[in-house]
Subunit: 228 residues, 8 copies
């Protein structure tokens, strides 16, 4: 099935943007927060029907939403870190994408990035718990980081890891601040500001806890489109 | 001349990181704010000597600093938008990089990105004054935007342009908020938050007014594309 | 029944401002947050008694409050999106009022605006899910938007929609930021700032999630139009 | 001269949106901040040429810019409160628009609103120095306020005036916070928040010090378009 | 019983400042938040024992804490608005203290002020629901306000009421912002800033929701000390 | 000369509230920031004419404004700390008002309070440089502080002094945060928050650097004391 | 058992930094927030195994986590204030470390500091409830404070205590702001800013509620003293 | 000369706290901002007279102030980085204090720390330009860092350096955020938050740009007092 750029499917309460792959190379995803489980299921089903060859993804699902998706669409559903991914995952076509996280408390956000990337055909590989308080853990992983053609770095608290990583590799570095921390972390504001002010040139930043957005940026960078 | 990863040249008050190209693919640049004109000249000269084949770049130069650089190193100096670039610009090797700006007041930041990109061998092409208050101006430029392999979008005030652009192209979109605006723009905070919360997936963001950083991210991305 | 400008009814714990229609053209509404269900019921009943020809409205009702209102006043009660409206809705007298929302998660705020507008005799018409990530959905609705004599635009996340809409229509545009989003959306601060800094001249803004206030502003505007 | 909706004139560094009147009913204005005096003059001249029957307006002009405009286009130039308006002012066609300000220090912002409104054919009438610390001054002006079909209220410091005014009139109330004040006024943040939280329903708000935007909103509300 | 200025009673986990009346004229109160019900009971009992002639007060009590206090000390306990007051209330000795609140949702904070004032021997008199959206309700109460020798004004949302009141009376005006409101009220920040920037000279401000503090300031102003 | 409550004198650009003494007990003052020197002179002259027996006060005067006032009204003008006071100072009638400041850098704000108080007939007495880093300096002044019937405490940086003072005296304590400090003082935000959160009950707060407002509050309080 | 600086134990989801003592003198601690109880138990067990002679510590444990640790490792577990400490506490080797807190509501944070310090071999001694509202309580404890070789000061609300303490002792003062307070305390921001702006030179600050961090800083300091 | 703890010298406008050395081990310093050059000279002279054996220090001096100090007290004056130090510097008695800075733009703050430390008898040693973008520069200096008994780390922008340093050394680490950077650095807020949220335990933080405070904290830590 192929849709023109300006196509969409009108569900009444929503207009599924089925022309998005033609415009941006990736399918629309469902942001589940603020939607009923029924709405999430209906939107995922519409996406699956429109793009049978793609994995349909919903993010920020709560338990009720996950249960509804599994109940309705469960044959090919993978659920992790609040993501419901419907459809068989494609063989990765890109070079390796490293998803690095500073601490174990950052793992949920890293998983959101990892699964979104896998669903979009990227070869995501997780590198966990390599925060700057023990640099040697990071330096041990340097060969893997340098092999990657794109690096997502997930960190809360001081958010210092992307600056260090970007000083060591030449690949694009996408920084994801997390809301891990307390007090003057102010819900992720602290690492967000750290990353925006990185002293290592070329770091770019996405929203707090936005593993999904980081993976979508990686998809733009690594591109699945044949045309490139 | 080639340097190992860990090489640096010690000027006493500064340690020029001449090993950076071996690690990150791009040379160190000089952040002129807070430095004396003499320091900027000395650092640029050291960079030129270390990497004769690369353009040495200083950003955020004020008039006194620009004059000092022109006086000391003026044979191959280009000065624009607070950037002093020393050395002959290379032939662009990458696919086109679009540098889009929303309003004419955003031009200085766009120029910082454009010159930095050119100095790093990217084929930067400026698209000016296509803000969302008059969408047709942007839509007229859609063919150029879609031809680009990476897009930098510079916008102040509401910062809405990157969301619209990212809904229309598949290339990576790097958003640069500017401090253009007044009142509740709070020195660029407003467009920064807009861009971090973009409803178009895959937008990444750099610091306010950081045209330099956006170009360096593009250099990482376009290098990454070559490596794919 | 008619009240002078300075009339009010004293309930002891509250002073119902029954003279407000004579001063401002619209009746007082009950802000239910922080009141007991009994207080909300008593205030609504007092408003109904004072202005039998008007719909009495309470906003921000929780489930217990809604139940109490339905139980006590349920003959003519409509409950939706936290609004309890008591009384038969009037025939709309104004030209069409478009209530546009960017995403489906913004619907509750849009519904608050829609119902408040209907209760005040405006011809509110909902246009859902036309965010800027897929411009064509919005452009498809352009005829409806241009027919409207006033437009309310509800958006969370980047809050970019009002700028785009205001560049396409000549009617007044009232922007409502919502608390939809996470991380650096900071509870609606991001779209609020976006809207205050709109590059399209003539956008005005109400408080975050304040669908009620937007509808009341529309009532002032459409009344003003009648008077012109 | 008539332009289609999608027309614009390309100056190279700027794209004058000459189709804007066809879309929004009002002409583009020039935001002078961040532009050179030459750019402002060129843009104003282009606007005058495109729409000879309209007043061309530039806001936020500094002294150098004002001098350049007077020098180049001075036959019909009015300069006040940082606004340069080029062209003969039209006869007002709308009902009266009250521009109310709380203190004399708010006058520059009120003047920006007043002149912009007059340039757009509105019957703007200034009511100065009626802050809530002396209510009787405001109450004395109540007949004038109630005669107005739209009210712009300009206030700094506590920003309390719009709430009081909106409790007394039925016309639309557009609130403009100013940066007048010190300390915890935080550059206008205090009155901005006050106005967004007005206890009088139906107040809408524009950016801090944005007299221009308030007038443009009034133009949308009062409409000069014959078609309405 | 009389204590010297430097006296205190050491409970191990707490040091009851029994010398405070000698220094400041009022007894220490118990801030219950973050304390166990047992700690609150123990502290109240110690205060009662130290100053049998005074009412012992605990603020910010939750239901469990209130129950524990009633259970342990219930003979003379009054519980309202999170305040537990132990001991017979004294005959008021001061002139009237008006406790004015803008809306009914502000009543809990007003009650905290009222009870604290009564417990300290002040003649507190509540004036409810006189917000500025309906000025006549306030003006009707002007005689009562002018009779007061001190006025506490409690308001959320726009926080405009203290400015209006202070323009009408000569007594000291203590403004109490409340966390009533939503969105850009930011938990009471909006009315706090409003009140700090009051255009009526001589308004002073206490912390958000701090009815207790306002009453204590009134006690200082009205003074129970015979020596004055 | 005596004016009714609702009297004012209309200067066209300003409405001098000459009825204010009848309502609030103190005369209007001129806030010079944002006014021309000519406007300040005209307003002061009008105030002098209206209330010959009172000192007319303008605050926040810059050098040009001070010169203009001295030139036009210099016979009885006192200029200090940005205040121009016109008229012979009355004999103090109140009990002593202590104006305490933490550091010498806070002196300008303390002087603004002192002069305003003297102009309003209060017996202001300055106690300088008694910050909490050297408690003994403060304790040495305890007799003077305890003799005062009202205490104004001016402090920047940590703003800790009012809490300490209020724990030692029974008089009303009005805290004035100053913008003295750097970095995380954020222009006075730090001491403002400190003072709003004082652990000593009964401290009230005015705006940052608002010595004028503190003195006006003291005038209300000392009037109130007289009325008790 | 001894580990080299660069040693770590890889648990798959975590990399226990067993080389940290060789580098920093103290062992890694487990930050339990965002981890499952199983993960906390596994990490504590790994730490115990790696460093049998040290107490393994987890902070920010909730009830479920505490139960799991007690169940799995309970022979030598001490649980208090969200800290689980596993292993026999060493004999203190340092001079006395005073842990001072302003109010009883600050006790949990003080306990976190106290236990962490004891687990690291410091001679921690608690001084409770000596806030500045009653200075004499603090002055009574001056001998104990001056005997201490390091002082941790824990305070919420106005956060004034560290400034006063640092003016009285010569030992290092580590200030810990707490989230105790309401309204404009903004979750501990108020005392944090107070402490960063202390007028007593030499105060250093850790994150809000970070008793753990304060104790670790004390461990570095008291180690440093030993080395002197 | 020796002073008791409670001694001070009263200059009228200032009270020089000459008892401070007896209480805190270090002399009072003069904060020059907001003082006249004459006041700074007078205070420095008083300090010199009181403590002839100590270096008297004024910080935040502007050019006029520096000139006045040199003119009046120039025999033994050292001026650098806004610090005027009067008196012969003592022989360092402590172990080495490393003053590390991330970038050359941070040097002025590092110099303020360095000179203050030297003036207080500490053996300060500067390590410049070792930011985390080029880790090898830092790792090369590891022996010097590990030799230090206390480390001050000065950094702007992302403020990541203290976390990395604290993971490598066991000495106390005092972090100083600087206002170097732009945009979302928000005048040093970004590195301040980074440092408060350091993932390396035991980092403490002083105010933005507060090199003086960091040195005074080091003085407390390293102690010049014989008594220890």
């Amino acid at each position: 099935m192929h849709y023109e750029e300006g196509a969409y499917r009108d569900l009444g309460w929503a207009k599924i943007d089925v022309g998005r792959p033609a415009r941006t190379g990736t399918a629309e995803a469902v942001y589940a927060a603020g939607k009923t489980p029924e709405q999430v299921v209906e939107a995922l089903a519409a996406l699956r029907q429109a793009h049978p060859g793609r994995v349909a993804v919903a993010t920020r699902c709560d338990a009720a939403c996950e249960a509804a998706v599994l109940d309705a669409l469960g044959d090919e559903v993978l659920v992790r870190a609040g993501v419901c991914a419907v459809g068989a995952f494609p063989e990765p076509e890109s070079g390796p994408l490293a998803v690095v996280c500073a601490g174990t408390s950052d793992l949920p956000v890293a998983h959101e990035a990892e699964i979104t990337a896998l669903a979009n055909g990227l070869d995501a590989r997780l590198v966990a718990d390599v925060g700057v308080a023990g640099l040697h853990r990071l330096l041990d992983k340097l060969p893997e980081l340098r092999e990657a053609v794109c690096v997502i770095v997930v960190a809360g608290m001081d958010g210092a890891l992307p600056s260090v990583v970007a000083g060591l590799v030449s690949a694009p570095v996408i920084a994801v601040p997390t809301s891990v921390g307390y007090g003057a972390a102010f819900g992720g504001l602290a690492p967000l500001l750290t990353m925006l002010n990185s002293c290592s040139p070329g770091v770019t930043v996405v929203n707090i806890d936005n593993g999904f957005g980081a993976a979508m940026a990686a998809a733009r960078i690594l591109g699945a489109k044949a045309a490139r």
